[in-house]
Symmetry: C2
Subunit: 327 residues, 2 copies
């Protein structure tokens, strides 16, 4: 690896001049500029970001902490973040937290040890000291905390919409899947749905789930139809569990949406490919990622912000697991 000294020597100038020319700070004669340029080319010199980072005490690195990239909702988020960051020349140190506090803390620590300039985190503990003590900007993604920069969607409203629409389409014995207890958005969806159901005087059954994993999803689905065989409408905690429910319903010979309607949450890419295609409450995951990155960059650059907690719209996305609404 060629260093700035090598370039300087080869170009017959001092390192200061090379530095000035690279960073476009201060004057440098046209001739020497050319010399330096060719020296750089010949040596294939690229500045050492580590040295830069040490000196300036800030890098071009950014930390991204997600629960589990294997959950189909998160790749979209991640991609949105990455695209925006990439366009602004920031790089991403990435980690999965598994919703685990220790793992999360460990990652945050290594982020700061590496001089990252900002962090995007999808955490269940936004109020924890780990974040409060951070002296770099943090944006919570798919999560919120009061007065903290964050990008999230209105889960409660999403739950309400799901309930309203499934009722409007004729379900009367609704089962709601309650997502993992420690995951805030999941609980909000659940609350919204139950709330709306109650307002309409529709009783509902509840199945408690404890993860969003593919493998376990099948279990909840089986349990659902075993315990509540006459369910005619299911509001799932996300599209993965919805897909499992759909799968199980069909396996049991139920017709969807005639016998039982299913509504998911998220609108992950697979939802439209399912058979029948899944009706769901859409979150604009990719946009959320981009927005979070944009917000973080603004924070990093100290841009004045009118708004720092950004709520994204959820939209009822009607496909084939619900019937036509009866007016």
């Amino acid at each position: 690896m060629a260093t700035i000294r090598d370039v300087a020597k080869r170009a017959g100038v001092s390192v200061a001049t090379v530095s000035r020319m690279i960073n476009g700070t201060g004057y440098v004669h046209e001739d020497t500029r050319r010399n330096i340029e060719t020296a750089i080319k010949e040596l294939q010199y690229t500045p050492n970001e580590v040295a830069r980072s040490l000196y300036k005490r800030r890098s071009k690195l950014t930390g991204l902490l997600l629960p589990d990239i294997t959950n189909p909702f998160f790749p979209e988020l991640a991609r949105g973040v990455e695209d925006e960051m990439q366009e602004h020349e920031f790089r991403i140190i990435f980690g999965n937290s598994d919703e685990d506090r220790d793992k999360e803390q460990e990652y945050i620590q290594t982020f700061v040890q590496n001089n990252v300039v900002g962090v995007i985190a999808s955490t269940n503990y936004p109020d924890s000291d780990v974040y409060r003590n951070l002296n770099i900007p943090v944006v919570f993604l798919d999560r919120t905390a009061d007065n903290s920069p964050s990008v999230y969607s209105d889960s409660r409203e999403g739950g309400r919409i799901a309930a309203r629409e499934i009722i409007a389409r004729g379900s009367r014995r609704v089962t709601v899947l309650q997502g993992p207890k420690h995951i805030r958005p999941a609980q909000d969806r659940f609350k919204g749905a139950v709330e709306m159901l109650r307002e309409h005087g529709i009783s509902c059954s509840v199945i408690q789930t404890s993860s969003f994993s593919f493998t376990e999803a099948g279990t909840w689905a089986e349990q659902l139809f075993r315990e509540y065989p006459d369910t005619d409408g299911v509001i799932a905690s996300n599209d993965i569990t919805a897909a499992a429910v759909l799968h199980e319903a069909l396996r049991l010979g139920k017709r969807v949406p005639e016998d039982v309607q299913v509504i998911g949450f998220d609108d992950i890419p697979l939802s439209r490919i399912l058979n029948p295609a899944l009706t769901t409450i859409r979150q604009p995951a990719y946009d959320m990622g981009r927005t979070a990155a944009r917000l973080l960059i603004s924070l990093i650059e100290n841009k004045p912000l009118e708004q720092t907690a950004i709520q994204m719209p959820v939209t009822f996305t009607e496909r084939d697991t619900t019937r036509k609404a009866v007016e």
Copy 2:
């Protein structure tokens, strides 16, 4: 951020002693050790990895380059890599290449600028100078190049298996989806399938596809049944396109697997949740990721290796889009 000097001052010793104690190199008296420990606690000191990296000219950072984390095959890979790295205290700088040479090169460059100790890349250009000139270990993942460390699966054999099994199950008018031209594994699968079909004297039609995106997949599927309406067996280039084909077949009122059989490739998580569940050629994605990371770490640590190009097994995974085999 507290530095090692702060700790030294507080503990009433020199930075050298603190450094020795932290790194467990050289002697340090039990009493001073305790002093230093409390100083560290009180100041919440953690070593600056950037300074370390500058001095040692090697970090604990690792580069991971994938085509597109949004393609459901890659999160599994990524997670495997991350888990293994995490357990060995390595961190990951992550980027999507979009199979784009320039983007790829740009990422590799920033990787080295950040003193990464190794790179895992899923690239279509393993023989390019970018990699040849790298003086840190590289492992190709889901791709290969002669004599280069790599973890991949036998795509050609996978293609052959798919063809053999679809024939054994009675398809006689097979359409093969040929994946993107520049993606090696896709072409190998294609070749394997066509080869086996030919060996059995089964003619086949071909649909050329140019991406693995969800949105476009539907288009190929439509084209397939429009151009070859009497197809009774489809060998897809991966599970995403297979899912699209399945979706389209059902939409057209075809029965699967009775009228048309479908075989995918990869065994992404959604495949088992589809309706009917997708028969596919499985790649052990998570394991591949882990294996690649393990290999890279061995390379980084200069461990003697008996084998550096690791081929993972593909396995025929029978589900509901194929019929029972006729013996």
